[in-house]
């Protein structure tokens, strides 16, 4: 699909006027907007079927009951982290090619047209152009898809480190 620069600019400036969701369902949905990977929430492994299956499986290897529980929880936690790692890696934040490659200076006539008669002051147009230029700088700083997925995945390193240490400790102390 080809991007119409005028349409795209209009959409982005209209979005700035939005006051957010009004309905309960909309507010509930938007409350999850900042949820990235869910690894900060406390998991409840003990009530899952997988946990009990793993405990039974590990019990046959000469570990104590406590150790079996620790190892099973450690394994499930490690898998949770690695699944989130994969999800983050496979779906990075998309590149906004229009914003990245747009010529902001050349877009001034479009900005003044979008602002209409109420905002026809040159100051308003300059402010809008400055805002778009800062958004463009941010977009360019993030780099392409590969650098985006690498930096997104990099944020999960500490979860992997903690998950591995927990699993390894449970096995060696068991």
């Amino acid at each position: 699909m080809t991007t119409n620069p005028r349409r795209s600019l209009a959409n982005q400036s209209n979005a700035l006027k939005s006051t957010g969701p009004r309905s309960v369902a909309g507010k509930r949905a938007s409350s999850q907007n900042s949820r990235k990977h869910g690894l900060n929430s406390a998991p409840d492994f003990e009530s899952s079927i997988e946990y009990r299956a793993l405990v039974d499986l590990i019990a046959g290897e000469g570990f104590s009951t406590f150790a079996c529980a620790d190892i099973a929880a450690g394994l499930l936690n490690y898998r949770r982290v690695m699944d989130a790692y994969y999800d983050t890696y496979s779906s990075p934040e998309p590149v906004d090619e229009f914003l990245r490659d747009a010529n902001v200076k050349a877009s001034n006539p479009i900005f003044s047209e979008l602002l209409g008669p109420s905002g026809s002051e040159p100051q308003d147009v300059r402010e809008m152009a400055a805002f778009f230029a800062s958004m463009q700088r941010q977009e360019r700083r993030k780099g392409g898809p590969v650098s985006r997925r690498s930096s997104d995945t990099h944020k999960l390193i500490r979860y992997q480190r903690n998950g591995t240490a927990r699993l390894s400790r449970a096995i060696r102390q068991g």
């Binding site: 079927i49 793993l54 690695m82 990245r100 780099g143 590969v146 650098s147 390193i157 060696r172």
Partner: protein, 211 residues
């Protein structure tokens, strides 16, 4: 010996290692592959690692599977390092010679990727050569400059690779610990059996003496 697992999954410690790794799949989520990756290659790596263990327990199989996933991640991240370099090269080429507005970054990126892999057609190769000549750069110059530009992102990927190495080390230690534990249990069983047989022999000789 059969381990009874919920929802009818049985793991036999004497079963072939391929079957053991499959029997764990419903319990633990298995590592996911990207659409262009080969499942067969992933499985052959796993079987190769499992074949190095002597009759591994289900827990050892689970850990080896995680270890294989780490190796797979190292492979992915290593490819990413090269892709980052290509990404930076394409960006530099698009910018070079004040062509930022005329050359589409995406188009240059795709053409350069094919050019570097030797899969591009003549026209595309000529186009890339033309941009290189206009910007007075050789391919190696471009690579050096791109490396400088992408150094921050390449460092990020290096951190990711380092993390996978650390995880492998932890998993390896855990596998060793399980192996040691099973050998210790086996040895204690043998010693117990030897003691029991000694006791029974003593019991027989005492009975003989008393009679």
């Amino acid at each position: 010996m059969l381990y009874n697992v919920h929802f009818g999954i049985y793991v036999d410690v004497a079963m072939p290692v391929e079957d053991k790794s499959k029997s764990l799949l419903p319990v633990l989520s298995s590592p996911k592959l990207l659409p262009d990756e080969s499942e067969a290659e992933f499985q052959s790596g796993l079987q190769g690692l499992l074949s190095e263990l002597d009759n591994p327990s289900p827990l050892a199989v689970a850990l080896v599977s995680q270890l294989n996933e780490c190796l797979w991640w190292i492979k992915r991240h290593t490819v990413d390092k090269e892709l980052l370099l290509h990404e930076a090269m394409a960006r530099l080429l698009s910018k070079a010679g004040n062509h930022w507005d005329t050359y589409d970054n995406h188009k240059v990126s795709e053409a350069l990727e094919r050019y570097l892999n030797g899969r591009g057609d003549k026209d595309e190769a000529a186009w890339i050569d033309e941009i290189l000549a206009e910007s007075k750069l050789t391919l190696s110059d471009l690579r050096v400059r791109a490396f400088k530009d992408a150094a921050k992102h390449i460092k990020t990927v290096d951190d990711l690779i380092h993390r996978q190495h650390q995880t492998i080390r932890h998993l390896q230690r855990s596998i060793d610990s399980i192996d040691y534990k099973s050998r210790l249990i086996k040895r204690m069983d043998l010693e117990l059996a030897a003691l029991e047989s000694k006791q029974s022999v003593k019991g027989v000789t005492l009975d003989d003496k008393s009679s």
